[in-house]
Symmetry: C2
Subunit: 228 residues, 2 copies
Amino acid sequence: MKKATLLMVEDEADVLAINREYFEGKGYEVIGADTLAQARFQLEEHSPDLILLDVMMPDGSGFEFCAELRQKTNAPIIFLTCRDENESVVKGLLQGGDDYVTKPYDLNVLAARVGAQLRRTGFMTAGKIELFPLSIDFLLGEATLDDECIPLTQKELQLLGCFALFAGRRLSYDEIYSRAWGGSSPGAAHTVAVHVANLRKKLGADGGGWFELSNSGKGEYIFSKVRY
Amino acid sequence: MKKATLLMVEDEADVLAINREYFEGKGYEVIGADTLAQARFQLEEHSPDLILLDVMMPDGSGFEFCAELRQKTNAPIIFLTCRDENESVVKGLLQGGDDYVTKPYDLNVLAARVGAQLRRTGFMTAGKIELFPLSIDFLLGEATLDDECIPLTQKELQLLGCFALFAGRRLSYDEIYSRAWGGSSPGAAHTVAVHVANLRKKLGADGGGWFELSNSGKGEYIFSKVRY
DNA sequence: GTGGATGATCAAGAATTCTTGATCGCAAAC
DNA sequence: GTTTGCGATCAAGAATTCTTGATCATCCAC
């Protein structure tokens, strides 16, 4: 996965340096900005995945800047505020689940918040469906089972995605077809059956020992976990 | 989207009936169980997306049942507890971000919690990338822009997914190729260029007035929002 | 046992999709 | 003005993928 890019808007050089070192050590790419003007520039330049925004900046208030940011990005914004600022004001300004941390903060706490926000926006999981130990990556067009990479065709990918999303649930031919093909067709059952066979072949007959893709005998397939 | 299925484990018939009516009105499919034994059965039968679990059941404690459930499903579990139960015990038993609500509860509050948990597990968004007003559905293999459905081939889908995920970010040919094709190839730049052209054609030259898919002139593409 | 229904699998033609090569236009450099 | 580099686009062959038809096995009903 591409490293998440953090834009850190902070005017104190040493704070910035410490944070940068910490987060880079955690595998993030850190972009610094010590003025709002520079933050604007870096925003265009790097399109960060998350913004850490000091409220007190030399050339303006972070809160007002926030509104401006929202026009340009939907990356989550975490405010860094001083403890003596009115908390209700802070909360009032937070919308849509963004967060804030009061100075002085513990870096581990901040990192946890950052991780939570990135998770919320689906940064790590977008384009994927995870059903341990199976992972379906729609961007790469492949599935991974027990660290073994299995390239899939589009239809196989859609089919497996459908099964993974409704694992353990009975799915009728028609339902599968409408989900992965859209609409319905007279030959739906047969077409689905062929792709299921292909999928079984690729996943291994026993689903790597983890999954079972069985037929209920009543016009339905069930994809279920057989080991935990 | 398929309706979420709720398993409601509750021994009082009238509470169950009221909840059922409320949640069915909200578009959920509600499965009821008035004993733990029945809950076990329904779990196998319906594979719910979320479980509402009354702690006080005639044939056992919901807490102990929870451990059993966890072996069989990773659907979120929301406990329904009485106010006089020890809260710390409740919290201690909660793992992995599941939730609890104390009786008597407001149905709207409960519904909010349910929604939050389903969102957390990605029930509504799995297999999708949303970048308003663009939505990419990998299960159906198509994108939707301004309510207009655009069928895409696998490579187009992967390419667009890649762009949407890193919207506003400069992406080099190689990076795009490694993300959507995997690995690298001498003809990567050319191949990518052709698919970009196809994508432009399908999205409309101006990206429906919302997006721009431009070339930086330095071997990079940028997919960015031009309207907010 | 026979017949019918259902699911699994194989195979091949049809259809789609992908890649590569060729060409064109534009702009910067010489 | 010419050349060169780069991106965009078109076109066609190559490759893959999808669908459909045929066959086979199994199970249940008769």
